[in-house]
Symmetry: C2
Subunit: 192 residues, 2 copies
């Protein structure tokens, strides 16, 4: 029987390993050879799935971004409150800190690559809309008092807060430990 | 008469040019040769001032960070209100957008370089303290009602908001134009 290779699965496996190596060693230091060695494939297998490091970073970016969106949606679907839904985006554990590292690596490339910038803009707008949706669904009782304009403004404030908190939390977990990130977010939510 | 070279001035000139090239072309693409050509010096002059690109980035980071701090202090000294002082940190013009590009480039390197991470932590804490000072000085009438703990919490909220707004403003000026960055900050300040 012929061996059937699940290419989508393999591509994802390679991307997972790449994500870990990017977080550990930095985007510049990671080579296709490193990724192949870690994955147990030849370098040509890695090249089969990704044309170059930029393509790989774009794929990794989409992968971690989509997972983060899924985490928020899952929290929302389980009936969690606004605080819990937004905490799914904060770097309160290693996995989420790693996501932010990938996003920082991506941001450093958006100034000179229009396609990456367009991707960042699209994802940023989606994140803002997702937060607006969470806000609508978790504040049902207050919703009748909130205009659409209010909801948009509040979602912008919350997105800014989450991104700003994450930046501090990733760089300086001693001054911004998980409990503090949660406490500042809670205080922010109390003012909506 | 011997030619007296003002090395501190030259080093700063080279760093200015480097900052512009990093913003225009990305850190990876910029070489000492490019910087030397643009500055009208030989590559060896640039190497005389900076051992490598990492040293150059660290110097550029400090230069733009210190200037940003000076901008806030100048606003504060001129009697500006909280909003105006903090706007000095938002990417509402080309110069300030460029600062944020430098900071993003720096953030992408902090995961693998402990000295750069320590620098980022020190500057982040200073920024938080500066905002706390601005908050104390611009809210003199309310100050008696604010405990030190409140001031710390509010300064953390404001730092997160400014960093988050800047991130969105740099990446997506269409969805986050200068007027919107100012409006969200104003709304945030109204809730303190």
């Amino acid at each position: 029987m012929p061996v059937i290779v699940d290419h989508a699965r393999r591509r994802l496996d390679v991307a997972e390993i790449a994500a870990r190596l990017i977080v550990e060693s930095g985007l510049d230091a990671v080579t296709f050879r490193d990724i192949a060695r870690e994955a147990g494939y030849s370098t040509s297998v890695v090249s089969h799935y990704f044309r170059n490091k930029r393509d790989l970073l774009l794929f990794v970016y989409r992968m971690v971004t989509e997972r983060a969106v899924e985490d928020v949606k899952a929290a929302l679907a389980s009936g969690a409150d606004l605080q819990t839904c937004l905490e799914a985006l904060l770097p309160v554990n290693e996995g989420r800190r790693a996501n932010w590292r990938i996003w920082f690596a991506f941001w450093s490339m958006t100034s000179t690559d229009e396609e990456l910038l367009a991707e960042q803009q699209r994802r940023g707008r989606e994140a803002r809309q997702l937060i607006e949706r969470v806000l609508r669904m978790t504040s049902a009782s207050r919703r009748k008092y909130l205009t659409d304009e209010d909801l948009e403004m509040q979602s912008r404030r919350l997105l800014a807060t989450v991104v700003g908190l994450a930046t501090q939390g990733v760089h300086d977990p001693e001054d911004w430990p998980a409990e503090r990130l949660r406490a500042v977010l809670l205080r922010e939510i109390a003012t909506l």
